[in-house]
């Protein structure tokens, strides 16, 4: 073998090795089972009491990387906290398995398949991003595994699904919240910019328009409607078309929104920016900078205006663990996990079908984000809050009832 070949082989090894080493710091994202409980779960432990497995698996699929990573990672803060507080159900230890769906529909379906077939999850939590959830939902529906969504708000996530539920409100309501906000604040002309690759964004834009039409009696106030796609970073052309709009409604994810807001201000737009719950990520402000000051958006929860009894201990525990104020995504992640545990307890069984029935019957669950009752569609009906960016932070503005 020539020295040249040897050299290149060595270099490849170095790269591979660095990859393996590099993997380790990322691993803690997946909360591994405590070392005491060996992965003996697969085989029914010999003399276990009847029907009582050695451990059960609750799966979580969230975007830990990709365009929605901030949302998934915020959600996981809440899920991890809930897991720490509740590591056992019906006297059986829980093993939580996290699979990254990489903000991608196809990956989300794969992640769900892996959780069900390989990890043998009896219930699943997730996912941030409606499109991810819809893709995962197809898989869980066929397998008959109940899923508790944390923050996917598009109506289609639970529509026609027997096994998909969610801890959050849905977009027809969320769209109305911002349309109402605009009308009440004297906005006469709005431009809508939607992400056409995301069901979430397209749905919200449509619901906003519908509510606008109901509230003002016509569509005249919608001066322009433009779209972009996943991965687009240049919004100047869409912004060039907004004419004399006083406000821009851009119900997309925080990363797109941050760039869009920055570019709009650079092009001399002086009006109001309005958005939706997917704006709630620190990246909105860190990327968008001072241009985001004054932007308003609808969301699920604000620690400032938390009213439920469960909220106070949650905020305290969260601050003790992460040294920051919990976001709406974290609160929903916490609630979603606790809702799964609650359903298992009420079902008094590890049978997915029984858990599903218990989930569907959830009534007045004292969640952090409000009292949660699952309706006949599998959705929670809850208040929304309107938040505003002030001095680089998300501040509570008002609460809107359904």
């Amino acid at each position: 073998m020539s020295s040249r070949k040897l050299f290149s082989m060595l270099m490849s090894l170095v790269i591979l090795a660095s990859l393996l080493v590099g993997c380790q710091p990322a691993a803690p994202q997946a909360p591994a089972a405590p070392p005491t409980q060996a992965p003996a779960a697969q085989e029914p432990a010999a003399p276990a009491p009847a029907e009582k497995p050695a451990e059960i698996v609750i799966g979580v699929y969230e975007p830990m990387s990709g365009a929605q990573a901030a949302g998934g990672q915020q959600t996981m803060q809440g899920v991890n906290l809930a897991y720490e507080q509740k590591k056992e159900v019906l006297g059986v230890p829980i093993k939580m398995v996290l699979v990254d769906n990489r903000s991608d529909k196809a990956e989300a379906a794969t992640a769900m398949t892996r959780l069900i077939n390989q990890e043998k999850a009896i219930a699943v939590v997730g996912s941030y991003g409606s499109s991810n959830s819809m893709a995962g939902g197809e898989v869980s529906e066929k397998a008959g595994i109940p899923v508790m969504g944390c923050s996917p708000t598009n109506p289609l996530v639970t529509q026609g699904k027997h096994y998909y539920f969610r801890a959050c409100f849905i977009d027809p309501f969320q769209g109305r919240v911002m349309a109402k906000y605009a009308v009440e604040n004297g906005i006469k002309k709005v431009a809508i910019i939607q992400n056409i690759s995301q069901d979430y964004s397209v749905g919200l834009a449509a619901f906003f328009k519908q509510s606008w039409n109901e509230l003002t009696g016509s569509m005249d106030g919608i001066v322009s409607e433009t779209s972009y796609q996943d991965g687009d970073q240049d919004f100047t052309a869409q912004l060039g078309a907004i004419g004399d709009a006083e406000a821009i409604y851009a119900p997309g994810y925080f990363g797109d929104a941050a760039l869009l807001i920055k570019q709009a201000r650079e092009m001399g737009f002086k009006g109001l920016f309005m958005g939706s719950d997917a704006w709630e990520a620190p990246e909105l402000v860190s990327i968008g900078g001072p241009a985001t000051e004054g932007a308003v958006f609808s969301s699920h929860y604000s620690a400032e205006a938390a009213t439920t009894p469960a909220s106070k201990p949650f905020v305290e525990a969260f601050q003790a663990k992460y040294n920051e104020v919990p976001s709406a995504m974290a609160a929903l992640g916490y609630d979603a996990y606790m809702l799964v545990i609650d359903a298992i307890e009420r079902a008094n069984s590890f049978d997915p079908k029984a858990i599903r029935d218990a989930m569907a019957a959830t009534k007045d669950f004292p969640g952090v984000t409000g009292s949660i009752t699952i309706n006949e569609n599998g959705d929670a009906v809850k208040d929304a809050v309107v938040l505003v960016v002030k001095d680089g932070e998300f501040k509570y503005l008002s609460t809107v009832k359904p």
Partner: protein, 297 residues
């Protein structure tokens, strides 16, 4: 559309086009010499942006040290990739090289995801690139002229190297016939390595400028620019440096103008831009500047 809006869109289109052009040059140079479509090129763009980001954010270097340093580092990475992933495969069928390029691309993306993290990072623009410039009713930010001027200067420098220096002459010779060039006593390995370095340096510059224009960097940020720059290179006639630049500007302008003139079609922006590309290639299969080449036997 008013005249002011047209000017505004022109400014936006040209600055986007300049970025595509810078990245496209790297594709075209490597293709011209090795007949290899270097699919990792877009990811080198990403690495360049991250290197500059860490220089400023972590080591608190001023931009005029951090940016050149990032270009230097990325150039080194380009060298390593050529040495490890491409050179050993050069004598084997072209498809092996191509597969290796795709593998390098995935490797870089996933390494970046593990090392830098999947959450997007905010890229700090140097203050002088953040000034508003108002001309009439058109408003641009000072990074726009900076991007355009840098692109033109780098392009001029590259043309000088390729057309007026000995290395450039060797590069041109290589693009005609590698073996014959070797027989003339030119160290072909060195020249190929040099082209990769040049391409990577330009990609890094493109990545840094991309990040100043769109100040959000993530491990997959190079995928779309890379793909589009590749298309720009094909549009201009792959293998031709001037063609890549023209293709880049054309693509940037088309993308912006399609949306500007037909706002309701904005969701299909790429579909329209690329329909135009297909049509152009149907009528000019070798691209705008490409020349017909006799198949080598």
């Amino acid at each position: 559309m008013t005249f002011d809006q047209l000017l505004q869109n022109l400014a936006n289109g040209i600055s986007l086009g300049a970025l595509y052009a810078l990245i496209a040059i790297g594709y075209t140079m490597v293709y011209g010499i090795l007949r290899l479509i270097n699919f990792a090129h877009g990811d080198i763009v990403m690495i360049g942006a991250y290197a500059a980001f860490y220089g400023v954010a972590m080591f608190i270097l001023p931009w005029w040290i951090s940016f050149p340093l990032a270009i230097l580092l990325t150039t080194g990475l380009g060298m390593i990739i050529e040495r490890v992933a491409y050179r050993p495969l050069r004598e084997y069928p072209r498809i092996n090289l191509f597969t290796s390029a795709v593998a390098v691309s995935f490797l870089l993306e996933n390494l970046a995801n593990v090392i830098f993290g999947g959450r997007p990072k905010a890229f700090e623009r140097p203050a002088f690139m953040n000034e508003m410039i108002t001309i009439g009713n058109t408003q641009v930010v000072s990074y726009t002229p900076f991007i355009i001027i840098t692109a033109v200067v780098l392009f001029g420098g590259l043309l000088y190297i390729v057309n007026r220096t000995k290395v450039g002459m060797a590069m041109r010779a290589l693009s005609k016939d590698i073996e014959a060039t070797g027989l003339m006593g030119i160290n072909t390995d060195r020249i190929i390595l040099f082209s990769f370095m040049l391409g990577s340096a330009l990609a890094a510059a493109g990545g840094i400028l991309w990040a100043t224009k769109f100040p959000q960097i993530n491990p997959w940020m190079g995928v779309m620019p890379g793909l589009k720059a590749f298309i720009a290179a094909v549009l201009g006639g792959i293998g031709n440096i001037t063609g890549a630049v023209i293709g880049g500007f054309l693509l940037g302008l088309t993308e912006i103008m399609v949306v500007a003139f037909f706002p309701s079609l904005s969701g299909y922006r790429d579909a329209f831009a690329y329909t135009i590309l297909i049509l152009l290639l149907l009528f000019r299969p070798t691209g705008i500047m490409g020349e017909m080449q006799a198949e080598k036997v």
